[in-house]
Amino acid sequence: MEKLQDICKEIRRNIVEMVNSAKSGHIGGSMSSVELMVALYHNVMDLNTNENGRIDKFILSKGHASPVYYAVLASKRYIDKKELLTFRKIDSNLEGHPSIKTNGVDVSSGSLGQGLSIANGMALAKKLDDKPGYVYCLMGDGELEEGQIWEAAMTASQYKLDNLIAFVDYNGLQIDGALSEVASPEPIDKKFEAFGFNVITTNGHEIEDIIDSINNIKNLKNSKPSVLILNTIKGKGISFIEGDYRYHGKALSDEEYIRATKELA
């Protein structure tokens, strides 16, 4: 676990460096997803491949969190660490939002609300062919305001997709402010329950809890799709942006960058 926590620290530094180098990008929602992403790629997921690519699939439905995605993919050598600083630049392989052209990325994303349907399709294909592995899909909490998510939730339940595990990065903030002040999708747990999901909630910054929760979900074996709600803090790790919606999608100033680097050292 200590090793995974060290990886999280490095990922957080990478995120700050990438966004600083690009002078644009989404820090807040990347920082809140770090522990989940490290848990998935360094512990939970089966990264071996078969004729359909990696056995376990991952979809970053909240595609704006591309900095954390690329940093984690680099930590598993899908992409070269040196490439991280080309993020969002012309001629780079690292698009502002994830592109299927980037090694390790299963599908392009970034237009919110679409990932869960894609995950359903993948999970259905696995069921049709009796293939092993899970499909994981990370959504934002604000993203749950997209109607397509609930269309997909119905489909996941209807087709008993117990090989699908969805995550909600519940940091409580969206671009224009707190969820409760915009168009709240809350209560998130009760909504998913009503749509036929197993719902588990955990601290999204405790890597051990995340791993335990995923294992618990896998042991349920009740023919239902599952969602793990991660209570998180937007901007986690940089004290002066934590819980501040204004840092959803902007780069740090030069001064803030120096402060952030010191805090993450």
Binding site: N52, V107, S111, S117, N120, M122, L124, A125, L128, T155
Partner: protein, 304 residues
């Protein structure tokens, strides 16, 4: 006489028998799109997502990413309208082999009226990078095209109709993407037609011939990519150039023809279609007459 949607449904059943990777999706319109035939035969490989077109396109994409050969169907207005951005950002941007087979395109939907008569789908689909746009004219064209695209490695939009159309082709005909089929060899006019309007143009050709006026009809079943070579060669020798489609004249097949001609052979083009209006309830025949997308209109334009 058979509708292209029915030919589509029948072909799916054949393909499903031949290839276990064929998966068909629908959004609660299986009995109308005719994918119900497939559902009855292969229930486990027919996914009905309910009245949820955005989810339809996303789920189809996920299946395609896992190597499935996916045909996704609903009415053209819902597929290309409601789920436009899913088609753009998920199907096309990822260049996925999803076959978007939309039925009930155009005015010939008839009685259901304007809300269900899709007149902008060709425009919407042909501006998306990676997208191929096909529009078969009869049963055989549909059957061949639906079969040919099964293993095509990229997104395809197929425009199908509700109403019956007469048989035009025999099994010997081939429908290669990016090609067209030329009927007749007259030079008094060339008429570019697509889908339902091909048989209308052929009837006009026949009638004009009785009066010693000889035209050529080109079936533009492949709207994107276009058969530029045939378009140029047939336009070059023709005295008049006419296009006809049950679609808005803005952005449709006629516009696509104009784009080619304006670059390579600037000529006047008469576009017959819906003139930037919504449709209307009525029998398919009555609606087409009201909007003047008829054999008589072609003849009138040729004789002008």
């Amino acid at each position: 006489m058979k509708s292209t949607r029915k030919a589509y449904g029948e072909t799916l059943v054949v393909l499903g028998e031949e290839d276990k990777d064929v998966v068909v999706l629908d959004a609660d319109l299986a009995s109308a799109t005719q994918t119900s035939m497939y559902k009855n035969k292969f229930p486990e490989r027919h996914i009905n997502v309910g009245i949820a077109e955005q989810d339809l396109v996303g789920t189809a994409s996920g299946l395609a990413l896992m190597g499935k050969k996916v045909y996704a169907s609903t009415f053209a207005v819902f597929l290309t309208g409601r789920a436009y951005e899913q088609i753009r950002n998920t199907v096309a941007y990822n260049n996925l082999p999803v076959k978007l087979c939309a039925t009930h395109a155009g005015l010939t939907v008839g009685e259901d009226g304007a809300s269900h008569q899709m007149l902008e789908d060709i425009a919407l689909m042909r501006v998306i990078p990676n997208m191929t746009v096909l529009s078969p004219a009869d049963e055989i064209a549909t059957k061949k095209i639906i079969r040919d695209i099964k293993d095509y490695n990229g997104p395809v939009y197929v425009r199908l109709g509700r109403s019956d159309v007469p048989a035009i082709y025999t099994n010997a005909e081939e429908f290669e993407i990016g090609k067209s089929i030329v009927h007749g060899d007259g030079i008094d006019a060339v008429v570019f037609a697509t889908g339902y309007t091909v048989h209308i143009a052929l009837e006009a050709m026949k009638e004009l011939k009785q009066n010693k006026i000889n035209i050529k009809v080109v079936d533009i079943y492949s709207i994107k990519p276009l058969d530029k070579e045939t378009i140029i060669s047939s336009a070059k020798e023709a005295k008049r150039i006419i296009t006809i489609e049950e679609h808005n004249i803005i952005g449709g097949m006629g516009s696509a023809i104009c784009e080619v001609l304006s670059e390579l052979l600037p000529r006047q083009v008469i576009r017959i279609g819906v003139e930037d209006k919504f449709g209307k309830s009525g029998s398919a025949k009555a609606v087409m007459e009201k909007y003047k997308i008829t054999k008589e209109r072609i003849i009138e334009e040729v004789l002008k």
